[in-house]
Symmetry: C2
């Protein structure tokens, strides 16, 4: 029995997973602030971060409501430890350079685009509404990432090397994107969630299109899922990220009289 | 009035300052674990970290006793925020590469060597005993750093460039080492503490000796203290360091029933 896997409330787990992806990827984008390649991109990074953290806020609020345990969206964001997070490994990887950041954004925004598109048909009206709102943002994110992938790869040799390096580093996290948990499958059968594996064909087709245009390629990988977010397993990077992201709430907890 | 500057208990501030230097520099050395240039140096880094954190433990225990407010050494280490730390800016700077790490260690262990040597004569017996114990360790640290400074600088061009780069980056933190607060001056007049400015001439002589042998030089700097630890001012790096160092105690506080 894995104490971190709560099969008794699959909708909570599912919505937390959607929220955590947006929160952690949003935090990664916030790390670019004041460090962007130029002023315009620094502002773009802020906007991407804001969009994603806004999505996280809506999703974690809904997750808290579904849980019904008296926890708030802030509690979920700032007071859980790594093993309770449900984000994908791809989202928690470090930014490294602009090439890696763009490769990751193309991969994940394409995934989010397909996931939110399908979730707009969810029989869970709240989820469908959040998805519709988020889809507008993610549509732009995907275009931003696709344009930058092509621009980097078709620009200079150095740009090509860096964005190709991004795909080389990150491609091993692809299989996890399509891993479908039992709870997710049940919710999908009820028309509430989207089974992750149902997104794979479209994802690969879209990625192939952009990557062909850019002249970059996917490296060969084992195709195995290394360890699963569904069991609370994460890469070392998530812990370091949480240390920073959660410091304020943990150093000055509500119990001490602070309000956030 | 600066709320972070407690002039009413200069001995507490002084001992916390000694302890914080050892704690933060020790934490920086612990960051080399599993990442050392080779296995021998990885183990050496562990030992340097252990020595320094051991000194921090003795000093913060004594500081807690002097404070008499019911806080423990662990409380001081893990539950203070940046503005209450009293370490020197030199200690909190990032390790960067081996050259920067070695340059910093030569600079700071030389300083600690002189400070502990003088503190052995303190009329405060507990401080004198801690100093005597620490001096043995720091004597080795200084030899280790001096040998590595010469080895790097006299080895390859790359080694010379890197250790020289270390001094170039870090030399601007030298003036702060010799800044003497009012409380420290009073304690020094009573034979308890060592006035930091009394160490400067010896420090510069020793540094000059090793750096001449290594063929590296000190860059020109303004010679001004940028901001003072005595007022709770620190570089951005300390906050990031504390996020990681304090995560466990803050995520699982004693109030929640955890004991450390």
């Amino acid at each position: 029995m894995n104490i971190y896997r709560d099969e008794s409330n699959p909708l909570f787990q599912y919505v937390v997973g959607l929220g955590d992806d947006a929160l952690i990827l949003g935090h990664r984008w916030s790390e670019w602030l004041s460090k962007g390649p130029n002023l315009e991109l620094d502002i773009a990074a802020s906007n991407l971060a804001l969009d994603l953290i806004g999505q996280a806020n809506l999703l974690l609020e809904y997750a808290a409501e579904v849980e019904g345990a008296g926890r708030s969206a802030d509690d979920l964001a700032y007071l859980r430890d790594t093993q309770d997070f449900r984000c994908h490994w791809l989202c928690e990887q470090p930014n490294e350079d602009w090439g890696v950041t763009i490769a990751r954004m193309l991969m994940f925004s394409t995934y989010q685009y397909l996931r939110y598109s399908a979730l707009m048909q969810s029989t869970d009206r709240q989820l469908a509404e959040i998805a519709a709102k988020a889809l507008k943002e993610v549509t732009y994110h995907r275009r931003f990432a696709a344009e930058w992938t092509v621009r980097l790869a078709q620009g200079t040799d150095e740009g090509h090397r860096r964005v190709q390096n991004g795909f080389n580093i990150l491609w091993r996290f692809v299989p996890e994107l399509f891993e479908t948990s039992g709870g997710e499958r049940t919710l999908a059968n009820d028309g509430i969630a989207v089974a992750s594996d149902s997104l794979e064909a479209d994802w690969r087709e879209t990625m192939d299109e952009v990557m062909t245009k850019a002249g970059v390629s996917a490296p060969e990988t084992s195709g195995r899922v290394m360890a699963s977010r569904h069991n609370g397993h994460h890469s070392e990077h998530l812990g370091h990220l949480l240390c920073e992201m959660q410091f304020l709430q943990r150093a000055y907890p509500k119990a001490s009289g602070a309000t956030w």
